[in-house]
């Protein structure tokens, strides 16, 4: 019984910490992640510029970097091709 109460209290404290985290620091962390991923998107675009008809890097260097980018290629492609309208941009602006 006591163990159950302890577990319940622990769970509640953890939930409260998460809620406060969501109200306070989450925004910052989310924004930093966004900034980092936007840089990665840009980097991938530079590497795969050929696909868009813009050969930015010589193919030799590009080919050497391709293996590192393959895992994130699918999400990059989807992200680049996704149609965005002003209500999407609102999300970008509020962070």
């Amino acid at each position: 019984m006591i163990k159950r109460i302890e577990a319940m209290i622990e769970k509640s404290v953890r939930a409260l910490r998460e809620v406060i985290y969501g109200m306070t620091v989450y925004d910052w962390v989310h924004e930093l992640e966004k900034a980092r991923n936007e840089q990665e998107r840009l980097f991938t675009l530079i590497i795969f510029g050929d696909l868009l008809g813009v050969p930015i890097l010589p193919p030799y260097h590009m080919l050497r970097l391709v293996p590192y980018l393959v895992p994130s290629f699918e999400s990059w492609r989807r992200s680049m091709l996704r149609e965005r309208d002003f209500t999407d941009l609102i999300d970008q602006e509020i962070g």
Binding site: N37, R78, F86
Partner: protein
């Protein structure tokens, strides 16, 4: 009636509304599946789509939706009596408020993270997206007008307030510097900056500082209409703050300041609630009647207008708000990890906001009392006084509590205002950027948004601007409910729970818009000679905004009726085939 009973009614509303009604709809109609992939998990790219746990998102959602609406709305609405205000807060949230927030999230989750622009294009008509853009821009302009007037005219002109607000801004920037540049632990940053912020608010209460700001406020004696030098100065200062918030990177200005502001607001709400529970006052029924008159006349304050539709738009975010649907669909829906999280996040945060609205209602009725309420002209400062009264019961003297309450309110407004200017800049670039390329420039787009806001702040009657803001806010919510209803129709699910609230909110907000636009334009035309020139201009501006919003909503309604007919015909055809 004792304030504890009113609080209990609020808690009961949450228990039954969330525990029974919301859960039943969630379980029987939406039928969320925790194993089903959500857009956040399917399309995780760290930019648009990022999964987060339900508790974190609950905090994020509440922080994003809570602004001045649930606080100022109930304070104004008690002029019709505290009972109708309380009933609308509780029943509005129960039947409409959470429905809108929750369905906006569900719509985003089930439609691959599409936001309102794309959804209105798909579910209503192609032109709906353009109309929505115009609508959102004007809605945002009204937020700026309503909030800007509260802060620039009422709160910042009190000599004990500006230093505290400016100090919190500075401390917020310090928080950003400590975190990003000096890499100091967030816990230490928080403790240092929050203590400094409170010190700043306390410094503002010192007689020397107050005298300094009084001298600034009285530096020039000129005024244009009711725009005195002090109001002119502080409304410009507020907009300069918004300018920086809109043009600087969000991590540099908006986020660290919002972070420090959050603690000021959060501690105020906790302290106020505890103080109220310790005090347990009773509403003086003779001074503050449960029901005043149909047209909202309390004491020497003039009549506001008919209870329907005006009460339902005056209490803006405390019962239902279109702002929530924008946040829910563009932000939260793309971070939901499991479908089952939509109810606790969307519904749960709305019910908590309802509690803030009830607290605000009590601040006006028991914290301030009728005589002082009338003396303060039912303005936002009523909340500051009510909160300071509650805080005295947790040992905080009124000499500190009063400016603290005013800084609390100012920060709540400012943290939303610079995000609103960012929205406006994006919307104007999107809508007119091709025709007027200059609007794509960050600074020009922002200055245009601020200039329009200033025009509304300096010229409009606050009561009319607030009602127009409330109407557009609730109308935005009605549009969210319409999208949810159309989506439910396409999925052949029960749509009564979204469609009936949509019809009610649509009729109410359209009536409020039509009435207010008529009143302000009538005054501008027929009383032009009697009114000061600034008020004539303000009435024309407010009237034109009201008419455009009304027409935009009407266009959307026509397209929506066609879309509904199509959906119902499709439904009948499918049933016939089956």
């Amino acid at each position: 009636m004792n304030s504890l009973i009113i609080l209990l009614i609020g808690v009961l509303g949450i228990a039954v509304g969330y525990g029974f009604y919301a859960r039943t709809i969630d379980k029987n109609i939406i039928q969320p599946d925790p194993k089903k992939a959500t857009p956040a998990t399917m399309y995780m790219d760290g930019v648009d789509f990022t999964p987060a746990s339900r508790n974190v998102l609950y905090g994020y959602q509440f922080k994003s939706i809570a602004a001045l609406g649930p606080i100022v709305g109930p304070i104004v609405a008690v002029r019709w009596g505290w009972l109708p205000a309380l009933l609308w807060i509780v029943f509005g949230t129960f039947f409409i408020g959470w429905v809108q927030d929750y369905s906006s999230i569900i719509l985003g989750v089930r439609e691959e993270g599409k936001t309102f622009g794309a959804l209105s294009y798909k579910l209503i008509s192609p032109r709906a997206r353009t109309i929505l853009l115009i609508f959102i821009y004007l809605y945002l302009l009204l937020i700026m007008g309503a909030f800007g007037k509260i802060v620039g005219y009422d709160l910042m002109t009190k000599p004990a307030v500006p230093l505290g607000v400016l100090f919190v801004m500075g401390v917020g920037l310090l928080a950003g510097q400590m975190t990003y540049r000096w890499k100091i632990d967030i816990l230490i940053t928080s403790v240092v900056t929050v203590i400094l912020a409170f010190v700043g608010i306390w410094l503002g209460t010192l007689t020397g500082v107050q005298n300094f700001f009084t001298n600034i406020n009285e530096l020039f004696g000129f005024s244009f209409g009711d725009v005195t030098w002090a109001r002119m100065l502080w409304s410009i200062v507020v907009l300069v703050i918004c300018y920086f918030g809109a043009v600087l990177p969000i991590w540099r200005w908006a986020q660290p300041i919002n972070y420090v502001s959050f603690w000021i607001v959060f501690l105020g709400i906790i302290g106020g609630t505890v103080g109220l529970l310790l005090w347990r006052p009773t509403i003086d029924a003779a001074a503050f009647p449960a029901l005043t008159t149909w047209d909202g006349k309390l004491g020497e304050l003039g009549a506001l207008g008919p209870m329907w539709p005006l009460l339902f738009v005056t209490i803006a975010c405390g019962a239902i708000s279109g702002w929530h649907s924008l946040v829910s669909s563009s932000g939260t829906a793309r971070q939901i990890e499991k479908e089952t999280d939509a109810l606790p996040v969307g519904g749960g945060a709305m019910f908590l906001e309802m509690f803030v609205a009830v607290l605000s209602l009590l601040a006006a009725t028991v914290g301030v009392g009728a005589a002082r309420y009338v003396e303060l002209n039912a303005g936002a400062f009523v909340f500051a006084e009510g909160l300071s009264k509650f805080l005295t019961y947790v040992g905080i003297p009124e000499s500190f509590g009063l400016p603290y309450g005013a800084v609390f309110l100012t920060l709540m407004a400012l943290t939303i205002m610079y995000l609103v200017v960012r929205f406006m800049r994006v919307a104007s670039a999107e809508f007119l950027g091709d025709a007027v390329p200059a609007l794509k420039n960050v600074h020009i787009g922002t200055i245009v948004a601020l200039a329009l806001s200033l025009l509304l702040i300096w010229t409009g009657y606050w009561s009319h601007v607030w009602i127009l803001f409330g109407s557009s806010n609730q109308l935005m919510a009605a549009l969210a409910l319409l999208l949810a209803s159309l989506w439910l129709m396409t999925k052949a699910k029960n749509y009564t729970w979204t469609f009936v609230p949509f019809v009610f909110m649509f009729l109410t907000t359209m009536a409020a818009l039509a009435r207010t636009s008529y009143v302000v334009l009538r005054d501008a035309i027929t009383k032009g000679a009697e009114l000061p020139i600034d008020k004539v201009i303000g009435n024309y501006v407010a009237g034109v905004i009201g008419v455009v919003l009304f027409l935009a909503a009407l266009y959307l309604a026509v397209d929506a009726v066609r879309a509904i007919q199509t959906r119902l015909a499709e439904g009948r055809a499918t049933a016939g085939t089956d």
